[in-house]
Symmetry: C2
Subunit: 369 residues, 2 copies
């Protein structure tokens, strides 16, 4: 898809959230209509549905703020190369440019929903436990490895909403995040640059549409405030940057350019993890380290037509060793990911936490340089 | 769908498992083909793919055993009322009877896969921890409530592969399971009646196709043996029965017929949970109890066109109280469900465990009878 059209489709998905969310409240209300008046009154479900609508409206207001400055980047014209087959009332099919169809796939709306939950994971008070379990060991390893942070370059692909990049920069390192998803990039810009500069927070209701496994309506509708710390706390002399794009493309020519590569819930985003391993080897400086934390939920495993080289941890590990890395730490860490702490459903990953070194180069004759 | 046609579609799904599983191994092998020979050799992925195929073949052999006696029940003819739209090579659509299409929806194949995992949950050694956490409190509550089990009638809807029904019967109660899914009923018959009578076990590879979050190929391909205890251990004088059908239909006329109703991972299978609550009230004898363990993962929540009255625990609880039940115990229990203990992905439910009593009837004047 042409880049501009792709960007436009992301904005459309954000814009569609309100109607999509309200339709979910409508559906539930319709089903509750089958209950007797007495049952509905006992359970006060009408109040809850009203609360769900109010929550969706509030989420939509935040989304509108988030998207506003990016509308100018959406091309007015259509790219005639990108068309969608639309069924016509007479049964035939006509191809029309994407932007005229207002078509938003369900998967994109779920990404909007995930982005709202990501606000909590990365910048909300309720996300603290998740951050401690996932970011904690990574930051500790970085500090142990490089007690003097000045000038130490750390690259974090899959940066999401930028919290760990920010923490790494706060700790004094030269931190660069890279992110592929426009959903994340737009939200990260909002949180870190715009809210950050204004020292403001936003209130979201990230679980409002989760009608399964809720303890109470109050739980389901509870608000989350983000950010819990002002991103602008970053000292003047800090060095934080964010890069938009595919890690493999953006750093194609990057060689020995980073003292540390930090992959947090990232290696399983690969079509072909061997490309990630070789890119890591190429871009990490001699003597530098690769720090990883995450599971192996291969992102393309259920996508028809996508290459998806799904490896076990032992397989991936043997590839990393064959490439030349030396494992110095290898542990299992329990971490959840955008998990609703109040839900009856609780998931956790047994994450692979490792520190692998690219050994310092030895001169050809084996003597000390 | 006509009942016979429905049954035929279940058998077709079981029969289709082998081709479906082998296609998954083929797909992975095709993707691994993009790796260099050296990488493939280092990771020994070719061995793994061969192991996956062998595992699927073994699973298919067990499935063939399981299905064999039920083939006679599949009608030879077609029910012309049940047709499926099949796209034709010329672009048109033709309606053909279901049984001629060999069409098996992906969701049915996933149910076959789930049934294999259910073998482990209910009857395998690796399922012990799951059973202890979920069955343990239920059996304890039953024993505390009815220390003399003789003649105490216990109904267990959503009986699955029958393990808890069997445990309840082993403890001396009159145990009746009810199950709606033919996938489960066919497998339960195989495990409890046929393997049970022959004192045999089967070996399955329930995780063989789980290519995400695996630690090693050996983990992924490891066998599970079931049953770990012979179902035929049940003493002669035991009283165990299984009923096929929809709980609401089967027990439509059941009144005050059970001293205990045990719902294990069951209340969330309702389209309308208020119907379950009223059925529970009607069928439990005066002074009897409803024992529940499970989350609220409403089964129809994501099915278009299905009624799905999704309630929070507080809402459901208020309905149960309004109906007349008195809660005597109410606790949260952590239980997983067909979770692969070796996977990097670990999920648990914070289950609602309750004991609610249908109070003994008081005579109209309030005096003792």
């Amino acid at each position: 898809m042409a880049e501009n059209q792709h960007f436009a489709s992301i904005i459309r998905a954000y814009d569609e959230y309100r109607a999509w969310g309200l339709a979910k409240a409508d559906r539930l209300e319709r089903h509750y209509g089958k209950l007797s008046d007495a049952d509905r009154a006992v359970m006060r479900v009408d109040n809850k549905v009203a609360g769900m609508r109010a929550a969706v409206e509030q989420n939509a207001r935040v989304i509108a703020q988030l998207v506003a400055p990016h509308r100018a980047s959406v091309p007015a014209g259509d790219d005639p190369r990108v068309q969608v087959a639309m069924p016509q009332p007479d049964g035939s099919t006509r191809f029309v440019p994407t932007s005229r169809t207002d078509y938003v796939p369900e998967s994109d709306l779920e990404k909007v929903q995930s982005t709202l939950k990501q606000f909590v994971r990365e910048w909300g008070a309720e996300g603290r436990a998740e951050r401690e379990s996932a970011h904690g060991p990574v930051l500790d390893a970085l500090r142990k490895e490089f007690p003097q942070p000045e000038g130490v370059r750390v690259l974090l692909p899959g940066a999401g909403l930028g919290r760990l990049v920010w923490e790494v920069a706060m700790a004094g390192y030269v931190a660069q995040g890279c992110e592929f998803s426009y959903f994340m990039l737009i939200a990260a810009d909002f949180l870190m640059n715009r809210l950050g500069a204004a020292q403001e927070t936003v209130t979201l209701h990230p679980w409002a549409l989760q009608t399964c496994n809720a303890v109470s309506a109050a739980d389901q509708l509870r608000p989350a405030v983000a950010p819990e710390v002002p991103p602008s706390d970053l000292p003047e002399e800090s060095n934080l940057s964010m890069c938009a794009g595919d890690f493999l493309e953006v750093y194609r020519d990057s060689e020995a350019a980073w003292e540390a590569l930090v992959t947090l819930f990232f290696v399983d985003t690969a079509h072909d993890p061997s490309e990630y391993v070789r890119a890591a080897w190429r871009m990490i400086a001699d003597g530098g380290v690769w720090i990883n934390m995450g599971p192996l939920l291969w992102h393309f495993h259920d996508m028809p037509g996508e290459v998806s080289i799904e490896l076990t941890w032992q397989e991936l590990r043997s590839l990393i060793v064959a490439c030349g890395f030396v494992f110095e730490r290898e542990e299992w860490c329990r971490c959840s990911y955008t998990c609703n702490p109040q839900s009856l459903y609780q998931m956790q990953y047994n994450c692979i936490f490792f520190v692998a070194r690219r050994p310092p180069r030895q001169p050809a004759d084996g003597s000390e340089p």
